[in-house]
Symmetry: C2
Amino acid sequence: MSGEIIPQTLKKVVEEVASLPGYGEKSAQRLAVNILNMPRGEGIQLIKTFLEMLEKIHPCKECGLFTEDELCPVCKDEERDRQTICVVEESFDAFAIERTGKYKGLYHVLGGRLSPLEEITAEDLNIESLVERVEKNPIKEVILATNPTVEGEATASYIYNLLKNKGITISRIAYGLPFGAVLENADDFTLSKALEHKIPI
Amino acid sequence: MSGEIIPQTLKKVVEEVASLPGYGEKSAQRLAVNILNMPRGEGIQLIKTFLEMLEKIHPCKECGLFTEDELCPVCKDEERDRQTICVVEESFDAFAIERTGKYKGLYHVLGGRLSPLEEITAEDLNIESLVERVEKNPIKEVILATNPTVEGEATASYIYNLLKNKGITISRIAYGLPFGAVLENADDFTLSKALEHKIPI
């Protein structure tokens, strides 16, 4: 950004947003322009909604899920299966699983994934607190539901090694073809995993 | 978003950001998570930078360029060629042109482009004020530098029709191969325009 006619406060916003993971200069510019192009009152309202979010939301002190209370609704719910923990990278992964209505256990949010490229190490993630939860509670199963990416795999594998001697069942979410997929367009890895883990009918 | 465990303030932020042009639910989620994952003080600082931007920046009252003053640095600069106006969709287009150092005239920011799909009509853009500027000032040339997209073309064509009888030169930024492009990968339209507007050496 070397243009001298760009206003300082706009330049600052673009630089700060561009430094967020997954953002670059162009997407940061687009966000700034979109907000500046809104009727000013609406723009200020949107930013105040962000401030309200930052004031109210924090990680659940037990599982790390974003919540407005000390404990999230899942950890507070006595009806949930308290012997199973599903480990996810981010809160939105848990929100997605929750929408299926198929999972009744607890969650544990890592707050990211191991990534040498982004310099994210085990210390940056909520891994130690997961091991503590497993040790201090009557947990029977941990489901590793990190993303099926290189980083997600590495993270799952790292956690597996920490938990494998704790006398619990450790599982990984299934690989396979996504519903509605076209077989010939599937990548080789997914297709070979789908065959390997074939299900008896 | 039907997950009942998602906190209300987070849901609200995601819904509002997802309604911005160019954003969807996933990109809105990513932005919210990125900001929530920052150390809280830094997150609040980032949002306050946005607020400061919204308080200080507004369109230049002459040309519409984002500025912190009443008039932007270009309109204030007596050394600029005040007989030429370059019409762009957004302020960042002008900032990009300015970085080349090749343009010495004035700008006019439309604040978008005609788009039936997004229901953006001529009344939503700063077109009337452009016609007024041309009528009230000794303008000799208007360069239409809207993007070379379907919407950008339609916008340029619409403005051309409004200005064609005002006794001024109206030009369009050149089409051609971008610097560093590979000929065989260029799309047909760009390639045919590059041939059509060939330059004598």
